[in-house]
Symmetry: C2
Subunit: 138 residues, 2 copies
DNA sequence: GCAAAAGTCTACTAAAATGGTAGGGAATAT
DNA sequence: ATATTCCCTACCATTTTAGTAGACTTTTGC
């Protein structure tokens, strides 16, 4: 399961994508519209900014905004930024690989099945973007 | 990621499947062969027994054994037993569904994408069994 | 029937992750 | 200058994770 943090991040990102024309959007607005704790959301948006997904502006008329068009924000990237690995086993993770301590990977069947699961999952998450999430709305 | 518990469960189950001819296998043997803490493994095997996957025998010559042929033990079932939901969002889980509190599911695009991820994941996990994990070894 | 061999059960624990909250600081617009 | 808004550090309670301890029960085989 995705953590609340990542779930909230997705809700916030889609809200921003749906309101690009507004320019910078207040944290408090997102917080109210999507029913997310304000202070928790602050942390999340800041993290997304540091990761290069969002930009921000301070002072009156400020807020957060998408720094890239929604078509360029892959879902897999967002998940990895906040939750870490997408694979079910460390020894099968592309971005957070760790050697397996319980078996020899060369002859481990579990390894191969879980790599298949990973590939099937990534087939979706690496190709779908924020824009796809929006398009599905209609 | 799968918890250590579930990872260990898979290692133990495949060990048992590879050694069906032995009859009951000692916890301590599995623990040593697969380098899993003995006491932790005890809990895990007991849980698998209560869930109907394993049988056991006490006293000399006792141990744990698979209660069904490896072809009938779906990977998805093992994961759900020990780790719970496989889906990435509660509002998209087949076995542990919970309503989403942040949006209206009927118009939520995230929902649909995550359902697609779930289906792609389950395509593997619902069809592969312990036996498939073994067959991949050759 | 007794001892050894095994699994069973209850309870405990330390460490980490999760899901927040508090409050002041820094930058910006007017 | 001041109000607005994001930025930052620190803290906190609860739950989950990964394990450990130790006594208890069942079974086997002599």
């Amino acid at each position: 399961m995705l953590s609340k943090k990542t779930q909230y991040a997705f809700h916030a990102l889609t809200y921003l994508a749906e309101n690009v024309e507004k320019g910078p959007v207040l944290i408090s607005e997102i917080s109210q519209e999507r029913k997310i704790s304000l202070k928790f959301l602050e942390n999340i948006l800041l993290e997304l900014k540091k990761a290069g997904v969002l930009g921000s502006k301070k002072g009156k008329g400020g807020g957060y905004y998408l720094i890239k068009p929604p078509e360029e924000v892959k879902l897999a990237k967002v998940i990895r930024m906040l939750d870490g690995p997408i694979a079910l086993l460390p020894c099968v993770s592309l971005n957070y690989y760790e050697r397996c301590e319980n078996c020899d990977e060369a002859v481990c069947g579990l390894n191969r099945v879980m790599a298949e699961v990973r590939d099937n999952t990534l087939k979706v998450l690496e190709n779908k973007t924020l824009a796809d999430v929006l398009r599905n709305k209609e």
